[in-house]
Symmetry: none
DNA sequence: GATGAATGAGCGTTCATTCAT
DNA sequence: TATGAATGAACGCTCATTCAT
């Protein structure tokens, strides 16, 4: 493979020029989310980054490490977005709706469970803990919001942890829907609305 | 290779002697549920059955075929159990509770999505259809029950398909719970009760 | 697989009803010629005969045995046909033409070499001898005809064995021709004629 | 795994140190010619090269690719040799004799047909084209020489393409000869002479 | 900082062959 | 006479990982 010609002289450090390490991480995240841990090979990552496999290994000791870093950084980003939404003055229901919309819009679903289950087999105890922590941080934000809301009497008192898990889980129903059913919703906001309504009212509850 | 010991006395003729084919299917189902499609090799299955890989291939043309058969038979079994529960005269909420209890009790969660996503890559169009059909049959039972209930005015009118998916989805929160949190429920029935309550009342509703 | 229903009573030994053994041999010959030794599995043969692999093994101890029998019987048949052609009163050139036509017409080319080379690796010494004998018998007929012709002064004196091999070899050029070139001959007879002319006159000679 | 012993003294720097890729190609060519496509496993090649199978796959994406490269490079080499012979000022018959000698001497017979037939089943359309092209280039050299000769009136006018194929084919009779008959020729040149004579004079023709 | 070469271990699959019935 | 079940050995291929440069 021929080296690409490079303009002479000291290349001015381009602003947008991501460092190799970042490129790899970013690319890997995309691939992992798209195909799942197993179906992404280190070669796939390398090729998509226009570097060699050895280079990937230069930055990430193992495939699992790369996966870990990808997922954790991803969760951090998600948490930041969530944080922003949940720290406004809007009423809880509105916040939940915004939260749901944001997540359903992301190609990237939070169905981190799916990835985790697949990867867990290869994760060390220590890595598991780290993942857990990142996940927890993600959930805690929401849990606090719910707790506050209960205290203010906005919603009925119930197990806030469970309520959190249920809500996050709810956003993954999209994956159970077949194409045609998914299309029966006019927009993502539509689906978000229906889900939040369901979460809010339950089967029996008011309109 | 050791002959499998057979308990003394009882089995005259073939009584109790599971056919190899069944043993393989049964073993495979367990392994697939435990580790996921990718992490189960044909050799794993074979070894656990005390036969050779070739024997497994004698009964199942490909790994995917074996997986398909495993999952479809599993869904059929689940559906049968569900059917039994949903066709009684009990009020819907009771039925939902029984349904939830049964599923949460099974080591085997209905989180078929997780498996599907992982395996889908290798499934042929035709196989996908077949899977879909099995999955649909599974959901339809519940959907009908919900629809009937709406018609009788037992619960509020809403999209029964979505309600179904949400309910099934709800049962998978267990997977998002870490060990310690899971143990905070006295029993599976406890968890089932909480989940059904949530499903029934929503965040706002209930007494 | 259901047994095909059989009419009651003692089945009259149908005339055309080939014995299983024959069916197998016949089928195998066809497959071997079509795909070559390696690309025909015992299962292929069995399936095409509507019997099980075990049945094939009941009649033929090994795949090589089956191949041997197929090829030898084939060579015998070819020899008989050749014999008929070479024992007429026609002039030699005419006989050669008929010989060539007959062989080129057969889907079954005499390119036995190709099969042999492929199979030889698995043939035992003894089997090789047997094959050789069948091949020789095939060639001897032609060699005698050539020798007689030389003695009668019809053709120039030369090594009759070599002349035989060259002639048989000549008939295999068809395999070297690509489709389009093959089609440039109006008919098999056309090609046969050209080849025999070449054989007869050489590069320099003739009219 | 033993380090390969290297002869003392000579090879300073990489002199004589064939690159692994070349070693593999060279070894593979030999094996394919000796045993045919089917009977050579990637492991065979690897072992004979003192590398692992994975290394072979590092250089050649599939077995078919390795085969293709082997055969095409071989044909190129043959063509070069042929070219040299056919571009001298010698009379055609002498050239043909040299051509025949050269080929018969090579352990490597041009019986490329045999290999092709065996391998064709696994070749892609594109690969087939490439092979055809290499084969054609091989034949064209000879065909041109024959055509030129016809134009100069050295030999009788006839289909030059067919004449080419016949000649090349003729050189494969050696494969039809059993050991003992092959030994009846004093030397390869002897056999070459007889074959060229036959090709030149035909059955009927001059002395 | 980045790479080319090499490997070990494993996987899905095929197939000739055996054997008890 | 015919078969269903089972197997051992191989094969083509992939991939995470290592290492010298």
């Amino acid at each position: 493979m021929k080296k690409k010609q490079r303009a002479l002289g000291r290349p001015r450090k381009e602003q947008g020029a991501m460092a190799t390490e970042e490129i790899i991480l970013h690319t890997a995240t995309g691939l992992f989310l798209e195909k799942g841990f197993q179906h992404v090979s280190m070669d796939d990552v390398a090729k998509k980054c226009n570097v060699t496999k050895a280079t990937v290994y230069y930055y990430y000791k193992t495939k699992t490490d790369l996966f870990m870093d990808s997922m954790i950084k991803l969760m951090v980003r998600i948490r930041e977005r969530s944080s922003a939404i949940l720290s406004t003055d809007e009423p809880l229901k509105t916040q939940l709706f915004q939260f749901a919309s944001a997540h359903l819009k992301a190609t990237v679903d939070i169905d981190i469970n799916t990835f985790m289950k697949e990867a867990k087999i290869t994760l060390s105890q220590e890595q598991m803990e780290e993942m857990k922590k990142a996940e927890d941080a993600l959930y805690n934000e929401l849990e606090s919001a719910l707790t506050r809301s209960m205290e203010r009497g906005e919603i009925r008192k119930c197990n806030p942890r469970l309520a959190t898990l249920v809500f996050v889980n709810l956003l993954t129903v999209k994956n159970s829907m077949d194409e045609s059913y998914q299309n029966s919703f006019d927009s993502v906001e539509d689906l978000a609305k229906e889900l939040v309504d369901f979460y809010w009212n339950g089967l029996a509850g008011g309109n």
